[in-house]
């Protein structure tokens, strides 16, 4: 795909099958989703998704329009051109020895990352930041031996007071959305 990485934020109803439908629209056009995060939003029953996709602005716009047609998608916006705060979280399990441990801790401090687990021969480092920062920390830790790495992918929010992908309001009141409930799905297609 010739283009660049786009960040798309969507507000979706929290129901079974939604992720499948959204992923399917990208798949149909031959896009590869670089990263995808989903979690609860400020409104019960609505989740906010952030995904990053490589492509031309025109192609991305086409798919975004198609995604808006997915019934459970309440709002969707390509925020690539907007001022955003974008972060991701990574957990990095690094091999350690008595000799290397203090050097690793020094690197972790410089990056203002945290050590969240210690074992005789390893450390788990938690870091939050832009992808560049996470990449840099990983490259610094790699020589010591990466045992395991997990990254959340990008979450993004537009800067400033307005909410471009905020929950819809009605008559100034916040709308009520039926949460999907734990366990057994009520209505919806299974993922």
């Amino acid at each position: 795909m010739s283009g660049r990485l786009h960040t798309i934020v969507a507000l979706v109803e929290n129901r079974p099958g939604v992720l499948n439908k959204i992923a399917s629209k990208w798949r149909q056009r031959g896009f590869n989703i670089e990263s995808l995060t989903v979690g609860h939003s400020e409104t019960p029953g609505l989740s906010r998704m952030t995904f990053t996709v490589d492509g031309t602005t025109n192609d991305i716009e086409q798919v975004t329009k198609q995604l808006f047609k997915v019934i459970e998608v309440v709002k969707i916006s390509d925020v690539t051109e907007q001022e955003t705060v974008a972060r991701e979280l990574a957990l990095i399990k690094v091999s350690t020895t008595k000799e290397t441990r203090s050097a690793i801790i020094e690197i972790v401090d410089i990056f203002r990352a945290k050590i969240v687990d210690v074992a005789v021969d390893s450390l788990v480092v938690e870091t939050t930041g832009t992808e560049d920062k996470v990449d840099a920390l990983i490259s610094m830790l790699t020589p010591y031996g990466l045992k395991e790495l997990v990254r959340t992918g990008r979450v993004a929010m537009v800067r400033g007071g307005t909410s471009t992908v905020g929950a819809p309001q009605r008559n100034g009141q916040e709308r009520h959305f039926k949460p999907a409930g734990e366990g057994k799905p009520k209505v919806g297609s299974l993922i």
Partner: protein, 570 residues
């Protein structure tokens, strides 16, 4: 357990369908929808039509919806019943037809365990429905069906599917139907933006060679009257896409026929010459545009369309107006100035005089075009026509110049062979008093001919015309034209269609002589029941005009090169 006032889930389905004004269901029973069939007899006002294959249920409901403007409803059982609907659902999806499919599913505790006749039909249909639901609680049935009809019939219509496990159909619940549906992520635009409307009117007023390109949206929105008013007021020639046929009176002096791959030559050139192109309820399919970069180079495009995702998808537009076609045309009409475009109208007259396009040569042979034109000429003005896919479909479209609105039913987007038989059934149920013709290819007919038995059972007086060239004609034409005459798998053994029809209890005539064509048509029209006519037409006859795939509209070939014709006929 108190059961007073409570009814079974299957009865809630029936009550919900009644609330939606449904009086006809096409379907097929099986293990997972037994409770629905058990409830059926309590609702004599809802008629069930038993098809012979679920694909036909979906196609018949699809055609019924196209003609009535109401949602079509079809039922199937789980597993193979549901998967047999898939082609029909995809067909309705591509042509934006409101279709509500209700499928039985294996009992809920067996879901995802590969139980007998389990298929993940909600998963399978995701890319070809507007929305689907797996209903796991009986109290969700009524609100889900209300939502299903709302989604299917509003905005850009389309198919939906409600999958209900058998145990949920049997659970008890009070019936309460929601008066209105409110889905936060689904708020279709109806009215056009007033500023855009004014801009469009101003652009139309400036135009010297304006052209209206009307599509299925005009038919779906039932906006033929508004379209005619616009065309007459501003004196604008009208061309309609394959699915737009019947959206404008064919005999009207402003009407110029169909453009596109097998459209009228003059229309393809007119698109290239127009200075303002008013595209109404259409989506610039590749069969209409040809090469996109060469499409309508001189035109500023006004695009009136209900689906915002279609705006700018294939061609850049000067003035997009998102909204319901009928509503937008009503908004636009008062702003449009009366005008005359005599030079442009003359341009059309001269082009049509100089380019024969659909003139039928004099010959003793039975040309398929002649058969189709004769059927149009001899049938009553309020007749309806369903077609399959291929050469006969293109000829049926080329020679359709009728005035009966919304009377041409065809599979456009998906191009589903075999559509012709079940589609004619759906049309005949929608219009029991009208003559219904089914234009069949000899290939496509063999895909769904099992439904002839249904015609006999329900005494449907459908007239089937098999345009029998003993070939998969369109594929044969492409192999001849683009694959160096390497005819591959386009000739097949053919059953005796006359005997086959008779076995199904249907009258049949075989026509092998040109003189018999009008006689057979008249006899079929006079017969009160169904009739099948097997027209043995010329085996090798190419469909022209033709715009080869991927080239510009300007390169449309009006008539085939004579040398090539001779070669083909050799």
């Amino acid at each position: 357990m108190a059961t007073q006032g409570k009814i079974k889930g299957a009865e809630i389905i029936m009550e919900s369908l009644r609330k939606e004004g449904v009086d006809l269901i096409f379907g097929y029973p099986g293990g997972a929808n037994l409770p629905m069939y058990d409830a059926l007899h309590k609702y004599p006002d809802i008629r069930h039509i038993l098809v012979r294959h679920e694909q036909a249920a979906a196609h018949a409901a699809d055609a019924y919806a196209r003609v009535t403007g109401k949602a079509g409803v079809c039922w199937a059982t789980s597993g193979p019943g549901a998967t047999n609907l898939v082609t029909g659902i995809a067909n309705a999806w591509m042509d934006s037809v409101p279709l509500v499919c209700i499928t039985g599913q294996v009992v809920s505790w067996l879901l995802g365990r590969d139980g007998f006749q389990e298929a993940d039909i909600t998963g399978i249909t995701i890319p070809i429905v507007k929305q689907n639901w797996l209903v796991l609680n009986v109290e969700d049935i009524a609100p889900t069906i209300a939502e299903a009809f709302h989604v299917a019939t509003t905005g850009r219509p389309g198919p939906v599917l409600v999958d209900i496990p058998r145990d949920v159909q049997q659970q008890l619940c009070e019936f309460e139907y929601p008066d209105k549906v409110d889905i936060p992520g689904y708020q279709p635009t109806v009215q056009g933006h007033p500023q855009q409307i004014k801009k469009a009117a101003a652009l139309i007023a400036e135009a010297e060679r304006p052209l209206i390109l009307a599509g299925h949206g005009v038919v779906i929105a039932r906006a033929a009257e508004e379209l005619q008013e616009l065309a007459e007021k501003a004196d604008i020639p009208v061309i309609t896409t394959l699915l737009g046929l019947g959206g404008f009176p064919g005999s009207h002096e402003l009407y110029q026929g169909m453009p596109g791959m097998h459209g009228m030559y003059w229309n393809n050139i007119a698109i290239q010459e127009a200075d303002v192109l008013i595209a109404i309820g259409m989506r610039f399919d590749d069969r209409v545009t040809g090469s996109l970069k060469d499409f309508a180079p001189k035109a500023k495009i006004i695009h009136i369309e209900v689906d915002p995702a279609e705006v700018g998808k294939n061609v850049p537009t000067a003035i997009p107006i998102v909204g319901d076609v009928k509503a937008v045309l009503q908004q636009l009409l008062p702003h449009v100035e009366r005008a005359r475009h005599d030079d442009w109208r003359n341009w059309f007259r001269e082009m049509r005089r100089d380019h024969p396009s659909i003139a039928i040569p004099e010959t003793e042979k039975i040309l398929p075009q002649y058969v189709i034109k004769s059927i149009y000429d001899r049938s009553p003005g309020d007749a309806y026509y369903a077609t399959g896919v291929g050469q006969h479909q293109m000829w049926a479209a080329q020679y359709f110049w009728g005035d009966n609105p919304y009377s041409f039913v065809t599979s456009g987007g998906l191009g589903t062979m075999g559509f012709e038989v079940p589609a004619a059934i759906g049309v005949q149920f929608a219009r029991p008093q009208s003559t219904v013709w089914s234009f069949c290819g000899d290939g496509g007919f063999q895909m769904t001919m099992e439904e002839l038995a249904l015609c006999r059972e329900y005494e449907l007086p459908i007239k089937f015309a098999i345009i029998n060239n003993h070939f998969l004609g369109m594929v044969r034409q492409w192999q001849d034209t683009f694959y160096d005459h390497n005819l591959s798998q386009v000739k097949m053994f053919q059953p005796d269609f006359v005997k086959l029809a008779e076995a199904m209890g249907i009258e049949a005539i075989r026509v092998t002589d040109k003189a018999m064509v009008p006689t057979a048509i008249d006899a079929a029209l006079q017969h009160p029941g169904a009739v099948l006519i097997d027209f043995h037409v010329e085996h090798v006859e190419d469909c022209y005009p033709m715009m080869p795939p991927g080239v510009s509209l300007s390169d449309t070939i009006d008539q085939p090169p004579v040398a090539q014709l001779q070669e083909a006929l050799r």
